[in-house]
Symmetry: C2
Subunit: 692 residues, 2 copies
Amino acid sequence: MADFTDHLKPAHDGTATLQAERDGSAIDVDELARHLLSRDDFLQRQQKVLKVLSKERLFKKDQQLNLARPDRYHLGLARAKAIQRFGRREGWDHADYSMADYLSDEMSPYFLHMSMFVTTVREQASKEQQAYWLPKILNYDIIGCYAQTELGHGSNVRGLETTATWDFKTQEFEIHSPCLTASKWWNGSMGRTATHAIVVAQLILPIKDDSERFTSHGPQTFLLPIRDVKTHQPLPGIAVGDIGPKYGYASMDNGYMLFDHHRVPKSAMLSRYAEVSDEFGGFTRHGHPAVVYGSLTFVRGQIIMHARLVLARAVTVAVRYCSIRRQFADRDAESRDAPEMKVIDYPTVQIRILPLLATTFALHYTGEYFYKLYNQSRSTIEEGDFGPLAELHSASSGLKSLCTTLAADGIETCRRAMGGHGFGGGSGLIGLNSDYLSKPTVEGDNWMITQQVAAYLIKKMQQCVEKPENLSKDPTDEIFKLYLRDKDHKIPESYLNPASEEIDDASIVSVFQWRTAALSYTAYQQRIEQKKPWTKMMIQLHALSRAYSEQVLVTNFHNALSSARSHLAPPTPVVLRTCFRLYALYTMEQSSTSFLLTNSIPAFCLATLPDSILELMAQLRPHSVKLVDAWSIPDFLLNSALGRYDGKVYEELFDMAHRRNPLNKVTFNPDYRSEEIVLGSGDGGRHVLAKL
Amino acid sequence: MADFTDHLKPAHDGTATLQAERDGSAIDVDELARHLLSRDDFLQRQQKVLKVLSKERLFKKDQQLNLARPDRYHLGLARAKAIQRFGRREGWDHADYSMADYLSDEMSPYFLHMSMFVTTVREQASKEQQAYWLPKILNYDIIGCYAQTELGHGSNVRGLETTATWDFKTQEFEIHSPCLTASKWWNGSMGRTATHAIVVAQLILPIKDDSERFTSHGPQTFLLPIRDVKTHQPLPGIAVGDIGPKYGYASMDNGYMLFDHHRVPKSAMLSRYAEVSDEFGGFTRHGHPAVVYGSLTFVRGQIIMHARLVLARAVTVAVRYCSIRRQFADRDAESRDAPEMKVIDYPTVQIRILPLLATTFALHYTGEYFYKLYNQSRSTIEEGDFGPLAELHSASSGLKSLCTTLAADGIETCRRAMGGHGFGGGSGLIGLNSDYLSKPTVEGDNWMITQQVAAYLIKKMQQCVEKPENLSKDPTDEIFKLYLRDKDHKIPESYLNPASEEIDDASIVSVFQWRTAALSYTAYQQRIEQKKPWTKMMIQLHALSRAYSEQVLVTNFHNALSSARSHLAPPTPVVLRTCFRLYALYTMEQSSTSFLLTNSIPAFCLATLPDSILELMAQLRPHSVKLVDAWSIPDFLLNSALGRYDGKVYEELFDMAHRRNPLNKVTFNPDYRSEEIVLGSGDGGRHVLAKL
């Protein structure tokens, strides 16, 4: 409906403002975008899949925030099914499907089917089992989920309470939930979608020569149907359903599942690495069980690469909006009529957004490094050499913890930097925020898994101290050796030149490495030499892991710049170097005491950090809009009035409120004396109250 | 329906576990609760109102997370109306109504009516206007809102774009929105509920002796009807509605409003302090306009006291759940069958929860101090002395910023400390979290308002340096004087005794005060002596405000303990002292570089902080369940499976999922080849897709 608001324009033109920002930087956005997003044809793939999804009404995100959670699952399933149909029509490959999930921006109810479910079958099923199951899986004749976590146990897999007891007589397993906390819990795609599940349960076998007693052989994996093929109702002996609303993941049916002495045939147990043998109480293991960590590690690798795009998305919204938003004139302006400043020109806004912009690049180069490391180790493992597994697992744990923390906290920091409108639905961050808050916990809790990193570093340091002649040539060994060279552990003077105006790039890297070595050495002394209890050390071990991972980010960023500089047109290499320094010095300032107490940096250096950071932010500021442009997050994905590429922030916010808000179609009765809620409606709005 | 899950119990009994925790501490919970919550009969009032609300089906919180946002407003309005009816039936006073809002735990669509709307009428309307409006307001014959913030301006009230132009001929004001960004925006209760609004607009008057030209007299307040009494439709010339979904505040109709040359009579302008006079172009101010800050300051005072209860609520959930949750045995346990540890016994969990538990008490004592300060200043102001306004405004700004940041971040820290279940709806933190995230922004953005604190401290320091003989006896002056006594600004040696094992309590306070003085002095030198641009100083000024406010918290906590000790039974005083030291030393460790660089504390002290904090947490740990019990948050408000008083965590989580989740009543068709979403239903679930 037309009204007097139709012709109104905002006081400042957002489109012109962003254009001026873009004109003010000579960065070649296309070139930088290709530099960042060429792996696996990301950019072309994004274009291709975007073209399909963006013209489908089903994928319109407009009303999502107005839908009830049960409706969000309806919608999620409808979209997941549509994506399968599009993909088959368009001939998509696996990466195209993943791109469709990424762009549709919600957890697909099919997600576990083509991730943990199929991966586990590929890795842990015998050849015969694979031949039987894989065609059904790939054809979506069955939909699978992965039921490991329970109500009472997540991180501690050895503590799972579901049992699978072998009945020698009938040659069946009896899957059973002995208590409530044994209920499977959280398992994605299980609540409403899946027809089959991989169930992780404690394998219980009778003891040889003692048919009365049983013993546990630890957690094993079983593949079984959980719902009827026709009715989609749970099979007898199984209680399964959706666990209810969560922070995010509205479209995903995270489930619960309990078993009541539920019997499955011998073939249900995935038997590539372990098998119940034919003799009474017999159990055979084939090969190295450590390989099961493989799939978890791969998932963590994806988490790190995903983190950079998530953070880039939040930063894109914040940079664009804060470049358009104006508030207050400069306090020192001479005229009372001085124009209002763009809020991104306030250092108090810059300090929240620009270090995060720099962090997106830090994450990127480490993501690239990590994929390389994973692929290298992967082939070694497949050749039967499990040596690199410790380093791989350690690196993946530390980086998963740090990167997801940075991204999760970064989204909220960006949101708050946008003031009031950051709290509104027009920010486009509500779904991203509530979905992403799962990441610091899933695939290894961010506090818990850092113990693995610390344990690895302590062991490495012990080797360096005790058997320096046996050292490998890992980067970590090199760092530790340098630290141990001088018995007083004095940082080489060449690192930091007090006469110099600024810390040079290589010295920055050295300082981060020195801190890692010093913290590792202290942890080694306390744990190995002084036998300090592990539990009492846990806080400092978490800090050690973080320091190590920050060092990995700084080192890889620095290494990448040397090679990237050679082929990128100016001023991009210089701007990326500014990002490197900003990320590194900002990180240093955030944990300055740790650098100080490890003698990695003298106090006089710390005192100069705030001014250096201010200067770096001023250098980065003119390029910030083009830098976020390079991350190439399409408007379809941003789904943000504040972050639109064309800068029409206020027009879109107003349109959402005035023309697309279903609540405005209802007229209410605000008089408390009346029990009628909706004015003049049939039931007075009581149908809503009936939902309670 | 009965099924095999009915008889299942969790592996460990949560009720027994919490009972053992309670038995392990001799704290008198009732006494501590009275100590904390006696102001304004809080505890009795909570009991009284709880009794009324908890038996009403309308106030059941069970299904809230399953409702769509438009339905949440329906429900919010129904509840707001019911509370009015209960209150009149039960003879509630204003504080009882506030308690009902607190317990029902959502922003009432009436909220602005009885807060900013009535307060503004009381403070800014003339006697005649008050006599006309107040009876209608108190009787809820009209429902009001407060329309200040606009699409383009929030913090900078002087920049508001809505105009109120005086038409001398007709003796009317023409309220008008000259551009889109002039749209009122965010204003609570305005979108669907209010019949009337206080509108803040730039008053435009013709210039005397020049009937062609106009001049602005700055923002003034107008009270006008915005909707028709009968139809509740917007009046002609007004476009008003709800702005749509936000992070939180689902039950609140934050609104937008635009005016198209909308005419209101002269009496619409609230005229206690300013009035359009009868002569052409005439405008008269009565009294001191600064008093309008009064209501904002009062709102900030409430925000601080509210923050402690919000944080206490998150900490209550985290402490109880982490005392029940078990995961992993001690890594150093000798037996492979060692029992799993309660997760609260991990220092990595303690370091996230226990300093926040200590913070609830820190906030409490400063809240008490602040109310005292407010009441003192208030009476001075009402006597016409505006002297204390600067100190009051400064303190309220700094504390609002710090306390709401601590609470908002604290909720999320607690949530993450609870691992997977913290992400679920059973945490009870979803609504709290998303509602509370508004607080760092509303009533003065947490980064922006700290400038007022810094400006105040710089001015204070300037007075101390330039006219030490004129000093008042403010606590801040005392601190500054001490700092300035020695021209090298060396901290008195008596503060920190290197020989002593621990920093004594008084020294802790001194250290915080010293840092505030040192940062103030640096800011004074840079701004006043070196004329450094304000904008370039903004980051450090924010840090200065935080340091000052942390000092206020530490000082008040310490002062309160001296008096509280005298009447609380052991071991409560000792435990509260542990809280004081934990809060202070944890805060010191978080900003250790700032203490170091201001010479407030030597490096050797910093190095000992982690061990001191570990030790304090170990001392606090046995009392943690009873300490959160003392905050007396009823289960009705907690609405949390994880935080239930009786510890039945797993039973409640399972019941919510298995018996009370509406999604489990629907059976879906997961086969992508079918367009049907809901299996065998009439429209196949397509009604949901129609909502897009």
